[in-house]
Symmetry: C2
Subunit: 459 residues, 2 copies
Amino acid sequence: MLADGYNFMVSSNEFKQQALSQLIELLRIPSISALPEHKADIERAAGFIESALKTAGMTRTGQIRGAGNPLVYGEWLGAPDQPTILFYGHYDVQPPDPLDEWKSEPFSPTIRGDNLYARGASDDKGQTWILIKAVEWLLTRDGRLPVNVKFLIEGEEESGGEHIEAYLASKPAQLAAGAVVICDTEMFAPEMPTICTGLRGLVYGEIHVEGARQDLHSGVYGGAAPNPLQALAEIICALKDKDGRIRIPGFYDRVEKPSPAEVEAWASLPFDEEKYREAEVGSPALTGEPGFSVFERTWARPTFEVHGIRGGFTGEGAKTVIPARAVAKVSTRLVASQQPGEAIDQITTAVAAACPKGVKAQFKLLHAAAPSLVNTASPYIAKAAAALQETFGARTVYMRSGGSIPVVGLFDRHLGIPSVMMGFGLPDDNLHSPNEKFYLPNFYRGIDATARYLEMLAA
Amino acid sequence: MLADGYNFMVSSNEFKQQALSQLIELLRIPSISALPEHKADIERAAGFIESALKTAGMTRTGQIRGAGNPLVYGEWLGAPDQPTILFYGHYDVQPPDPLDEWKSEPFSPTIRGDNLYARGASDDKGQTWILIKAVEWLLTRDGRLPVNVKFLIEGEEESGGEHIEAYLASKPAQLAAGAVVICDTEMFAPEMPTICTGLRGLVYGEIHVEGARQDLHSGVYGGAAPNPLQALAEIICALKDKDGRIRIPGFYDRVEKPSPAEVEAWASLPFDEEKYREAEVGSPALTGEPGFSVFERTWARPTFEVHGIRGGFTGEGAKTVIPARAVAKVSTRLVASQQPGEAIDQITTAVAAACPKGVKAQFKLLHAAAPSLVNTASPYIAKAAAALQETFGARTVYMRSGGSIPVVGLFDRHLGIPSVMMGFGLPDDNLHSPNEKFYLPNFYRGIDATARYLEMLAA
């Protein structure tokens, strides 16, 4: 069951198998935060996590209720002279569609080979489970922990809910800690333990376009009536050019170049662009801004993406409708030092400026998150790198991630604590896609590395 | 119940009220040909029509089965020395979505004021019912008809089904007639009896775009992976410019200018462009090719329209997906003398040429119809104009329609007979839109005008 590179085993095989069985139960809960009809599943998942924290040996647990899905809290504070670490994860998942592309049901976890397939297997139930089980193992083995631990597990990470922001903004005393460990990122490559040092921010919203008062027949009105879908196409093309350059005025003004040391380190990472295109992306060609490497384009450059377009008729057959309204769901990724508020203003202005004749167009914000960059000089980062290296038997690498974990910026801003982004996912884990998986040897090593990290923090 | 301009009454009030009650029953059947789940409703509607033809006094009826929805046939041939007229209509309807914009349920016909609201009220169940009831009235009153009549009522007009084309292509002897009366168009304005002399053709299809092998996370892959929705936006903008000019190479080459007499006649029609924009379209401005009037743009110029875009995530909330695939449903309207086959080739080539880097794009045809122009010198047209004028007490006007009735071209091509497009719909009948309606005085006058037409044909 364990990979060749597995050099250091902390927890027992029996414990690991039990942890896997429990994770499978958690993955059966379709706790999709973006879909209101899954509200009851969200509650079930929150209850499952709180119960697990109790079982793990937390001396105090609870659910922080507010406007949104519950935050699950747990703590063990029996090492008064030692540092305190805060563990963050999330129990909500992305919607599973398109369903017909899953080889096994998204909420019927299935093991094939060394992988566990399910929505949330790696993002982020599997990785959250690593944190809980590492603590449980140490308490089981020693009856105590080497440092103090706190847990804050949220349920709106995938839907941009604002409950955690409101809670963190209240600067709750019970969250006081030296650092927050976030287990929601991925390794650069198999067998290459990784700490993530930078994340992109996000502005996610909708472009609403209104044309005629109601849907019209394209035969009768085609040629005279505006078509909001055509207008959306024009606006989208006005926001990003064919080469992938964002055309929103001012959008690149605050974009920082990665440091020469970072660029050099990235160049030394094992990376075969053609293999990445063929095996990972699977498209005829890669796209994106000319003159930048794939790492730069996905880690250090902002993006603009269309996620879906609603309006008109998309069923089987033919309906000759000119829709009255259409909506595009779009997002931009931000990089340091872009500021979400300014980016929102720039997008809003650019959408209004690109609005063609005959329609009204408006950008409506859904949510936003700041980009972040982490200081690798922190001892919390250095010790995490050491624990990973010991467990994996390989040098820990520093990378960035193109994704957004809004909470990283919030911990920094409201609690003033650094984030240690120690992730065990793999690049082919199919996050947010059909056939999401978690590589089980990394699940097990994640438990051990996290336990070792707590031991090292006390040393 | 009858409008002021109602000068000539053929059928009795009692008969008309009964005809309305029966129409309401027909409108309750959701015979949506574009949606396979309504197959049973299609069968019910076909049975309803055949039964009505029997009740009306047809001496022979039947359903012509084949690949597609049944064609309903009926005939009364008891006037051997007189002309034969073929009546065409369709019993299928458009899908009713968006449902939430209907003031009453689309398949619960509701009378408000002088209008009957339901999907299919005017297009085309209401107008088909006019033809059947006109014949029934004459047979009830006289025991015989002044001319021979045949009916061919189809069930795939709204979905581009090919059953009728295959049937007409077989040149069935039982359809021999001097002309076909098609009651599926609209009047230019209330109280202005109208014959339609030209229709636009149609090429309806889908642009399929494929990018990555599977849906991707926009954080991880945004900046490197192609986005099929962005690609669709680029292709759509490449096919039509911001001013409404089609950019498909060669598309305008065969477009005929309307005759000077036509342009002059159109200029004399009562038309207030600002009122049309405000009251009918309801958009901030009209769109379309510069330098052409609204009549030219909607009757005599080709169009390109997007009807819907499928792919990615369009539900509530936020999903940061780069979809692997996306599809745009699009159509172009053709005008004389564009040829569907050539237009399909031009679109196919233009889509391929506009395909951006990183994706594959392909145009897939759903169906096509040729444009048509009618010779107003035919006596079948002249007598129809006279019957309308007598019933409405107003001069009959000739107009074109921007819509497509593919069967007009088929009757011409396969049976060599002219189409008499005598329609009783109004411009604000909301065809293909929520709150479709039929103006009841026109329903009644339609019955009378059709009965008078049959009498005049025999004279």
